[in-house]
């Protein structure tokens, strides 16, 4: 195995672990239920919300880096991330570049606009929950592609 493929395998294994943490955080947020009044939340519940948005953001960030690594491995243009997304769309790893960007917009908004408005915050977290399986699907498709193309074994969770 080449050094770059070895690095890619490590990235995917790391992502598999991150995915487990993200799913755990998503479950914790489901347990909190609807957000009516932020002041009613316990310290642990605030921690769960914070962990979820951070893990969501980091998972997409690292997934993007792994996709870029695959594009480089395939000698594609990686000067702009838009080119990487187009390539991933052609590989059917992602459904559309726009959906990926929408998820990025969502996480930027939830991190930037973290506020006390419970109605708006509820909408953010509901949308984040809806996008977790989408990110998981992208990751699964990337792993499957790497398995087929390079024979990479990501191990449990991948």
């Amino acid at each position: 195995m080449t050094p770059s493929l070895h690095l890619l395998a490590k990235k995917l294994q790391h992502l598999a672990r991150m995915q487990g943490y993200l799913v755990y955080s998503a479950q914790q947020v489901v347990r909190i239920g609807a957000l009516h009044d932020m002041r009613q939340l316990t310290g642990d519940q605030h921690e769960s919300l914070a962990a979820f948005r951070v893990r969501f953001s980091e998972f997409q960030e690292q997934l993007g880096k792994a996709m870029r690594a695959v594009a480089m491995q395939e000698e594609q243009d990686v000067d702009s991330f838009g080119s990487v997304l187009s390539f991933m769309e052609r590989l059917r790893v992602i459904d559309s570049s726009e959906h990926w960007k929408l998820i990025r917009e969502l996480r930027n908004a939830v991190n930037h606009e973290y506020e006390e408005n419970a109605v708006r915050l509820s909408a953010f977290f509901e949308q984040l929950q809806l996008e977790v399986p989408v990110l998981q699907g992208y990751f699964a498709a990337l792993v499957q592609w790497c398995r087929k193309a390079y024979g990479l074994d990501v191990g449990p969770g991948g």
Partner: protein, 108 residues
């Protein structure tokens, strides 16, 4: 409040070009519907300043889903290649930012 006329040379009243303003209106119409009313405000209507985000305050007849709001913001950023701050409100709502946008901004 100023209101932009179709034939008005906008370079003198807003620091966005006519094609950029047309792109903004096109995105808003497509993503938020015909009934949306928008005001450009903040640094982009201050002729003494340079650069800056594109601040848009938009009122819609009906509540907008978070997904549609984010899509609209994404389309605006891509169309303008500039940072965009998009604030949505339902028509008739009274907010401090809405009052500022309407009184100091340019209705598109």
């Amino acid at each position: 409040m100023q209101r932009m006329q179709p034939s008005q040379p906008t370079a003198s009243i807003a620091r966005l070009s006519y094609p950029q303003l047309t792109a903004v209106r096109s995105c808003l119409r497509r993503d938020l519907g015909e009934g949306a009313r928008a005001w450009l405000f903040g640094s982009r209507v201050d002729l003494q300043r340079r650069g800056g985000d594109v601040d848009l305050y938009v009122e819609t007849p009906r509540p907008t889903s978070l997904r549609d709001e984010l899509l609209c913001k994404l389309h605006l950023k891509e169309a303008l290649d500039l940072p965009v701050d998009l604030i949505l409100a339902q028509a008739g709502s009274q907010t401090p930012i809405g009052t500022i946008a309407k009184s100091t901004g340019l209705e598109l």
